[in-house]
Amino acid sequence: MALVPSFSYLLSRSRHSSVVRDSVFPKFSIALRKRFPLFFCRCYGPADNHRPITTVEAAKVETTLILKKDERFGSRGETEQVTSSSTIAAIVTSLGGPPGGVGIVRLSGPSAVPIAQGVFRPISRKRRNKSVWLPSSHVVDYGFVIDSQGNAIDEVLAIPMLAPKSYTREDVVELQCHGSEVCMRRVLQACLEAGARLAEPGEFTLRAFLNGRLDLSQAESVASLISSKSKSAADAALAGIQGGFSSMVKSLRAQCIELLTEIEARLDFDDEMPPLDEKSVANMIRRMLLDVDDALRTANYDKLLQFGLQLAIVGRPNVGKSSLLNAWSKSERAIVTDIAGTTRDVVEANVSVAGVPITLLDTAGIRNTDDTVEKLGVERSETAAAGADVIVMTVSAAEGWTPEDGELLARLKSNKVARTSSHVPMILVVNKMDRAISCEWLEKVSSSFTKHVLTCAVTGEGIADLESSLVEIMGLNDIHSGGRRWTVNQRQFEQLVRAREALVRLELSMKEAIPIDFWTIDLREAALALGRITGEDVSDEVLANIFGRFCIGK
């Protein structure tokens, strides 16, 4: 008797799956009907139906939906994996409160693994040489997240959960990074740049639900969550668009639309329009690309405002790194003793310089040591230095420039070359000025650094100098003096990146002398991306524009 429910379950399942099959492979369903008309044609012939036919049933007659593939491309298209939906990413641990120890960035969707492979570099003893990550489901890997330039951003744990054994029943990769907002946002940014889309509020839960993961009682809460959140997100997005930024995006988008109008009008009304000045179009596109670049640069400043900078304080043991951190942050975050090697782990403290949040990372003094714990600390110091935006190397004025300092400098430089391709500014801090012997050596080594500052951490002397040189080096001044103080959120930044990608492709098309119709593809994409920032759609606007602007019609 126990068989009965299981059988009926099977029946209902199979019915369900045939519906799926019909909609996914309409072609297949036709073929079946054709081959076995006896089985099928009766179900669809209204004349055979003895029940009264209503219009609702008439609709069911129409079952054949044809999406024909181009047979000339057919063979290739079919073997290719069809990805059903986009891959989304978001920070899933809470933001805004006090930083937790660990933060999680989650990727979900059909290309979660390829995207993770793009940003994650595993470090394991077994496959040290292999840089591509080959995940096995539910096995944790340790490694680094790198950005598009190959710079290390943070050390993370990657946890792949492959479909269907995951929250959303899609491929999921979770990157556990350091809990500070800066780290999480940078990791997220790397994922977005690698092709993920920022998840809408509640979208993970939505996907989980739509993929049959949650039970029905949870459905209503999902619905209300999404409707309320999308409203508040829309409000927030609108509030977030400040005058300067929105007018710039709007003008960029208007330029896209104008170009599209110019081109499309000629495509549809060829003989009624004066010929298109392709050169001026090309110039305009180039100008737009510059503008988007400019906006992205500004957005990067803005990223500074939002995410801040990471500043690693490195140096030999006992030169006063922890004192410097304490003095700068006006706190007792780090333990200070006279014993060399007191700091074993990376200690963080937050300060604000010219309105930009700066995370100070106090590191263990770097030296060759046999102490296992200290050794790990030293490793972490080097990692921190590698991931930082600015390195502050501290030396003691009391001891002068020692050979160990020279060695450390060489090591930092070689690390920098290996891990990063871009230039990371280094500031030399000569601490313990109150006990200085002589400063003649300073001349010799200062060329290796972007700037040098004399401080006395105990009295707080020189901290102001350090701040001003930081402002100068990082160009933090420009944010205020440039008069472009706007905030760009992650979503807007993502769209700017998409718009830029489209325009870069467009420029390439122009260079390759690809016909003008192809330009519209990328222009449309750019306009769509920019429109998403301001919440406008493209399609009908172009048509309306064509009719509004040009004298067309026979």
Partner: protein, 724 residues
């Protein structure tokens, strides 16, 4: 088709073996249908005797027949068809031909047999987006492309260098020849009867299914499928200046009564307006000072059938311009035009403005282009393109004579506007069957479109579906992404229409995939499956695809030989050629065409010019094409998800009010269609998805409950039984 078949079976036993060649399944099906038809016939007779005493006499032998041998009554059989197509324009012809070719016994009812496939406006076929429609109709097995190839006066390729997706063929056609050639085809088509008649009502059965049509002079024609292609005739009214008269076209009477009767069945009707410019006598035009516009030297073709690729001598078009005098005359008489005089509110379509509209709206433009196009080889009529006007007739000749070259012209026909009834197409499914009445199909201007090509595209869809419906087969829907035809139909049934709908390339989101050159490889296999592509065409198609595939393979494998070719390619493209590159890779370089291979002897001489074009496009733009294809497929999975037909949108509180209202009105069939309904936001679609999933689970849960409770009952019973 089924009924004709069973007629053969019962009437001529000699034909029985032939019928048996079909599968037994058919036979069984047919016998069942036969019984059914008998039943239906009796019902009609009752209906008839109630309504029309005159037809009682005609039908009386029928009532004497028993259900089984009803089909033997030849009188009745004459009135009965599988498909009735009302209207013999471009939609009607395609519909009737498609239906008849699929084996359905078809009747084409038209007001005037001499006006079949008439081109009342510009005698031209094709142009951007429209030419794609023509190619697609041809790829499916339609007629319009062949006709245009047969009757062209001039052909030009537009947008030649602007990309393969927007390249468009346009043909001036000989208006009279076109109509007479199409008439010949229609007249000689097997299974197709033609009859003059004005349909004033449709006959609807008990289950809201169409049963036939009723004509002005009291005839009833019966069929389970009816296609209405009323064009501008349904309550048509033509205007010149302030004067109007009821007419479908100048000199042809309008059709009355049908709108009201359709409204009685609950259809919503609206009015649209369009117009046509004056015709002048070419013998009175001085062409010497005008800029000639010649046709292309190398002729291109609409049809994929090489049998129709016969070049003809081309005629010339001419270009003239409006002058200061034109503008002055119009400005002085603006109050005489319907729009600016204020007695007609409806504005014409935006892409087809009248000359007064152009002059008022673009004040800074001193002159507008006017094209003079011949209407035929044997007639002196010239079409004055770009010069439609609402001015009264007494001013029209004066106005024409302000144009250079036309100073002494004589006018053959005045410009006029026409107002006509249409039925907003949200009332149709994407198969073009109406939602209200089963078996009733709409095509062409009745759905709010304009243009012969748009009409033909809808015509072939409704013709196919009407025949399939009559045959009890499932209906065909072309998805939006599959073709311009699909895009056209999807737009029609989904979007709000404010002006006659014209196809434009910018209406298609994936136009790079919907090119003219691949219309056959997109749609001919479907046409074959449906049954409109005969063995000959199928062979032609397969040979072409095989040649292309083989050549692409060859180009991929052959390395570029060092020598003149490399030097030439480097010079033309300005890019270096690597040693290891293949012939394929050099075709990808800018400005390099297949002809360069021919020039150096590396081309394939067995290929036609068209084949080479296809190959070049496939190779050159492969990256773009693949990218669009991937984007499309990502989207298609979600978009094609079907929505249940019985959704109560008003009860969905998570949708916005506007979305609830619009979705209830349009009742989209798929999620993608829902997202394209105006006023429906992405958030609404998400909410809809959640509701659908919840509903699905609720149903499953209920089922589970029922099953378990039933099971519990059973087990209780057995318990009782064992206890007893």
């Amino acid at each position: 088709m089924a009924s004709t078949l069973c007629l053969h079976v019962t009437r001529f036993t000699t034909q029985f073996p032939i019928c048996c060649r079909r599968s037994t399944a058919w036979f069984i099906d047919d016998t069942r249908r036969q019984l059914l038809h008998g039943r239906c016939a009796r019902r009609w007779c009752c209906r008839l005797s109630r309504r029309f005493s005159c037809s009682l006499r005609l039908r009386s032998p029928v009532s004497a027949c028993s259900a089984q041998d009803w089909n033997n009554c030849s009188d009745a059989e004459d009135e009965r068809y599988d498909v009735i197509v009302v209207g013999g324009g471009h939609a009607g012809c395609e519909a009737a031909l498609a239906s008849a070719r699929l084996g359905a016994k078809t009747l084409l009812l038209t007001l005037n047999i001499d006006r079949i496939a008439w081109q009342p406006c510009n005698p031209a076929v094709g142009g951007p987006a429209k030419s794609q429609l023509v190619h697609e109709v041809d790829a499916l097995g339609g007629e319009i492309g062949k006709m245009a190839d047969k009757c062209y006066l001039q052909k030009r390729v537009l947008n030649a260098s602007r990309g393969p997706a927007v390249r468009a063929l346009r043909a001036q056609t000989d208006k009279r020849e076109y109509a007479s050639e199409m008439k010949k085809v229609v007249e000689s088509a097997p299974n197709l009867s033609i009859r003059e008649g004005m349909v004033t009502d449709i006959l609807v059965g008990k289950n809201d299914n169409v049963e036939g049509v009723h004509t002005f002079f009291g005839m009833n024609f019966y069929a389970p499928s009816v296609v209405l292609t009323t064009g501008t005739f349904m309550s048509g009214k033509i205007w010149i200046g302030r004067t109007s008269m009821p007419a479908g076209r100048a000199g042809e009477s309008a059709s009355h009564g049908l709108t009201e009767n359709l409204q009685r069945f609950g259809f919503e009707a609206g009015q649209l307006k369009t117009g046509t410019p004056a015709r002048v006598d070419s013998r009175t035009v001085d062409f010497s000072g005008l800029e000639p516009q010649h046709g292309d030297e190398e002729t291109n073709w609409f049809s994929f059938d090489p049998k129709y690729h016969i070049t003809r001598e081309q005629m010339c078009c001419y270009l003239t311009r409006t002058t200061k005098k034109t503008h002055q005359l119009i400005k002085e008489n603006l109050h005489e035009t319907p729009t600016y005089g204020g007695w007609v509110e409806a504005r014409g379509p935006r892409y087809c403005p009248s000359i007064e509209d152009k002059i008022v709206r673009f004040q800074d433009k001193e002159s507008h282009q006017i094209f003079l196009e011949p209407e035929g080889r044997s007639v002196p009529e010239l079409y004055v393109q770009g010069f439609s006007t609402g001015l009264p007739e007494r001013l029209q000749l004066q106005l024409l004579r302000t144009l250079p070259g036309l100073e002494n012209c004589s006018m053959l026909r005045p410009a006029y506007a026409v107002e006509y009834d249409f039925l907003p197409a949200y009332q149709c499914f994407r198969s073009l069957m109406t939602k209200k009445i089963e078996g009733l199909f709409f095509s062409g201007q009745i759905n709010g479109t304009t243009g012969y090509e748009e009409a033909a595209a809808q015509g072939i869809v409704s013709g196919i579906n009407a025949a399939r419906h009559a045959d009890g087969k499932s209906l065909i829907v072309l998805e939006r992404e599959s073709s311009y035809i699909g895009t056209l139909v999807d737009d029609l049934v989904t979007k709000d229409l404010r002006e006659p709908y014209r196809m434009l390339t910018s209406r298609s989101e994936h136009r790079l995939l919907l090119r003219s050159d691949n219309a056959d490889s997109r749609l001919t296999p479907l046409g074959r499956e449906i049954g409109l592509i005969d063995d000959y065409r199928w062979q032609v198609y397969q040979d072409k695809q095989a040649r292309i595939a083989e050549e692409k393979k060859r180009l991929k494998t052959i390395k570029v030989p060092a020598g003149d070719l490399v030097a030439d390619v480097e010079e033309v493209s300005g890019q270096p050629v690597k040693d290891s590159s293949t012939l394929e890779s050099i075709l990808k370089k800018p400005h390099v065409h297949y002809s360069i291979l021919d020039k150096h002897g590396y081309g394939n001489v067995a290929l036609t010019r068209i084949d080479k074009e296809c190959i070049e496009i496939d190779i050159k733009y492969e990256g773009f094409i693949m990218r669009q294809q991937t984007q499309l497929q990502q989207m298609a999975m979600q978009q094609h998800r079907r929505l249940p037909d019985n959704l109560d949108y008003y009860s969905m509180t998570t949708l916005s009010n506007e979305a609830r209202e619009k979705l209830s009105k349009v009742r989209p069939q798929t999620l993608g269609q829902a997202s394209r309904v105006g006023g429906v936001s992405p958030a609404d679609i998400t909410a809809l998805l959640i509701i659908l999933e919840s509903n699905r689970r609720r149903v499953e849960q209920q089922k589970w409950h029922q099953e378990t409770s039933a099971l519990a009952d059973v087990s209780q019973d057995t318990m009782k039984a064992t206890n007893a």
